[in-house]
């Protein structure tokens, strides 16, 4: 069904747990959006979240860097530990947490600033650059990693909002990697990209995996199979199945998983 040869280098080896989630529940008002989810996100690993639309992938992703705090009606319960430390603890500063756990949103949201300032935003507020030359270098490197450098190198002063949808998406990826997060959460980062740009972003994900852990939400089974080592399948707010990507795609345990990846539900 899927070409398992391509990810034979995604060797199965156990790594340190980066984020440990236990008994997670999320409510939007009275809607129970995430039910009893237990997941371990491993370090230096790409974890893919798949599942039909509205099943709670984005919601769960937003729990991992406390972005749900910004939604008034959202309530998050359960335990989320980053490197063994509870991230919903009162002593944890969500601002610092989000610097460590970066995010690329489902809808591209460039700031109404120049392309350069968009990418330099994170490094500037966190003081990552010693001088202008340093910052220039960070910006260029990030834009290259976001696979958009060649398209924008001549118009870094143009507004980021003037780019096409797919370019904006890559700009947001570049913006997120510029702060060098330890965990990068990517919510459908390739939904508006052509195959070439998609391949470049996947390359970036692979490169990030050498040092960080990446969580990616995707609706493309092929993409999940190509880039991830672990896959989690969500359905109606439940985590149905979580395991090695190869295992999930070739030999799913749950019938719902099987029907989803073969295209019968979702």
């Amino acid at each position: 069904m899927f070409d398992t040869q391509t990810h034979k280098d995604n060797a199965v080896e156990s790594k340190a747990t980066k984020i440990e989630c236990r008994d997670c529940q999320v409510y939007y008002g009275d809607t129970h959006a995430i039910k009893d989810v237990n997941v371990d996100i491993e370090d230096k690993t790409v974890t893919a979240f798949i599942g039909p639309s509205g099943c709670g992938k984005s919601t769960f992703l937003r729990c991992l860097n406390r972005m749900n705090d910004t939604i008034d009606i959202a309530r998050v319960m359960g335990s989320f530990k980053l490197d063994g430390e509870e991230i919903y603890d009162k002593r944890v500063d969500p601002v610092q947490l989000r610097a460590k756990v970066g995010m690329v949103f489902q809808k591209p949201n460039p700031f109404p600033k120049s392309i350069y300032d968009n990418v330099a935003y994170g490094p500037r507020i966190h003081g990552l650059a010693r001088n202008k030359a340093d910052l220039d270098e960070i910006v260029e490197k990030s834009l290259r990693r976001g696979a958009i450098w060649d398209e924008v190198k001549d118009r870094l002063d143009a507004p980021g909002t003037g780019l096409s949808g797919g370019q904006q998406q890559r700009l947001c990826i570049a913006r997120a990697v510029a702060t060098e997060p330890e965990v990068l959460l990517m919510d459908e980062p390739c939904s508006a990209l052509d195959p070439i740009a998609t391949a470049q972003v996947e390359e970036l994900i692979d490169e990030l995996r050498q040092r960080y852990s990446v969580v990616i939400v995707t609706h493309s089974m092929q993409q999940a199979a190509r880039v991830s080592q672990k896959t989690a399948f969500f359905h109606l707010g439940n985590l149905v199945e979580f395991g090695e990507t190869g295992q999930i795609f070739t030999n799913p345990e749950d019938p719902r998983t099987e029907s989803y990846i073969t295209g019968r539900i979702g």
């Binding site: 947490l97 989000r98 610097a99 970066g102 809808k107 949201n109 109404p112 947001c172 702060t179």
Partner: protein, 486 residues
């Protein structure tokens, strides 16, 4: 037949037209509305429009020109000998109109009959007493020739009124018939009513534009007369403002302009930072509950009449500033001062800045905030670097609105800063503004045709030009620094 009745008839005809048009449309389509180009209601609407609009337009035009025509006719009948010493033709004309309408009233009340009016002369009737009993008081006895003209006036008016009713109703009926005839399943009634609505909207916007143009013209007209009496050079460049009743005044705008700008500047200095901070607190930091209490409370400030602010300036702020700041610092002994007026005006302007800014800040999409928080920015960093730049055009608009209010404010200035036109940098000194002087010049005892009164129009025009300039400036700023978000 009076105009109101004609209007009623036309509207009734149009309403009938709507019903008939609608049912005729359905019947031409063989009872099946799906066979029509448009919904049946649209056919009714076209009949309504064709019946009412042309007829009413003619009626409006007629009503506008009828008095001009009658006056022309009547005026010719008044010979120069009828005009008494010290009187004028227009006074006699108004006498004629008064007597004519008095006769109508008397007729309605049953005091006289139509035939009595026809045979009425000043010899056989005491017209003044008769009209007095009908409730129309006249200053002097009515002369025979005035009475004759008045009777003629009544007659012409009556005939023209009937004529108008006939013509208007005829036009309405014609429109009715033509538009009912036109109904056909393929007739694009929907497009016709679309165009009619567009025309309606255009007319509405024309009203606004024409009003502005009218205001400008009346100002310009009087200003030109002023400059005929007083040299423009002195008005713009003289540094003194010193109107004299006996003539020989100094009417330099400069001290007033300075006062206006100084007071407004002080007011904005208070209102803009505080208002912006209130807006940021309300939209970014306050919980929904706090917001729902604080926002209306701040907006109450905008509803307080300016005269109340003026009282506050006069009895509280003014003496306070004088006793605790001006006198100890040796800067003045007046309780009226630029600072008093500016401060109180600033308080008044806070809700203008905060409420509008709050709205535009709220309109910045949540995804912008998410993007910034997602990169590990704090709330204040997000506000400073993402939200305010994105909301800038709206914030500039809010500040501009506040500035226009400040420049046009009168009451607070009179009571807070006084009425003395002075050129000084000291904020504890009494000064005054353009608006205050417009009021005092127009309400003074001097003759209308004197430069002392007409200067009010020149001042008004200058004020208009200043606010216009401010608007243009703001537009430029907004264009230049606008940061788009989709």
């Amino acid at each position: 037949m009076n105009a109101g009745l004609v209007l009623l008839v036309v509207v009734a005809l149009a309403a009938i037209g709507f019903v008939i048009g609608r049912s005729r449309a359905i019947s031409t389509a063989g009872g099946d509305a799906r066979g029509l180009h448009s919904l049946p209601g649209y056919y009714g609407q076209t009949v309504f429009l064709f019946t009412a609009v042309p007829a009413l337009l003619v009626m409006i035009g007629w009503l506008l020109f009828q008095p001009l025509y009658i006056d022309g006719q009547i005026s010719d009948m008044i010979s120069d000998t009828d005009i008494a010493e010290g009187s004028s033709r227009s006074l006699v004309m108004s006498d004629v109109r008064r007597v004519a309408s008095g006769l109508n009233t008397a007729l309605e009340k049953g005091i006289v009959s139509e035939t009595q009016i026809a045979s009425m002369t000043t010899d056989n009737t005491d017209v003044r007493a008769m009209l007095g009993s009908a409730g129309i008081a006249l200053a002097s006895a009515v002369e025979q020739n005035i009475l004759t003209v008045a009777k003629e006036y009544r007659q012409i008016k009556g005939t023209l009124g009937l004529l108008m009713a006939g013509v208007v109703i005829l036009i309405a009926a014609a429109g009715f018939l033509v538009s009912v005839k036109r109904i056909h399943p393929d007739y694009r009634a929907r497009n016709v009513s679309e165009r009619a609505i567009k025309a309606l909207l255009i007319v509405a916007s024309l009203v606004a534009i024409l009003t502005t143009v009218g205001i400008i013209f009346s100002l310009v007209f009087e200003t030109v007369r002023f400059f005929g009496l007083y040299p423009a050079k002195d008005f713009f460049f003289s540094l003194t403002w010193n109107p004299q009743f006996s003539g020989g005044s100094d009417l330099g705008i400069f001290p007033l302009l300075w006062g206006t700008l100084y007071v407004s500047f002080v007011a904005l200095l208070f209102a803009v930072p505080i208002g912006l901070m209130v807006a940021i607190y309300l939209s970014e930091y306050a919980s929904n509950r706090v917001r729902s209490i604080v926002k209306p409370m701040v907006e109450v400030l905008a509803g307080i009449p300016t005269i109340v602010y003026g009282l506050f300036a006069l009895i509280t702020v003014g003496p306070l500033l004088r006793d605790y700041f001006a006198q100890p610092l040796g800067l003045g002994t007046s309780s009226s001062s630029v600072l008093t007026a500016g401060l109180v005006m600033g308080i008044m302007l806070i809700p203008f800045v905060s409420s509008l800014s709050d709205d535009v800040i709220n309109a910045v999409p949540q995804s912008m905030r998410d993007g910034s928080y997602g990169l590990g920015a704090t709330q204040s960093e997000t506000v400073k670097q993402v939200i305010l730049p994105a909301a800038l055009p709206g914030v500039v608009g809010a500040i501009l609105l506040a500035a226009s209010r400040a420049i046009g404010e009168t009451m607070i200035v009179v009571m807070g800063a006084g009425a003395a036109a002075k050129l000084s940098l000291n904020p504890f000194e009494a000064m005054t503004t353009i608006t205050v002087k417009i009021v005092s010049q127009l309400t003074g005892d001097t003759e209308f045709e004197s430069p002392e009164t007409l200067v009010a129009f020149a001042l008004g025009l200058s004020l208009f030009v200043i606010t216009l300039g401010l608007n243009v400036l703001a537009l430029y700023i907004v264009r230049k620094y606008r940061e788009q978000y989709e």
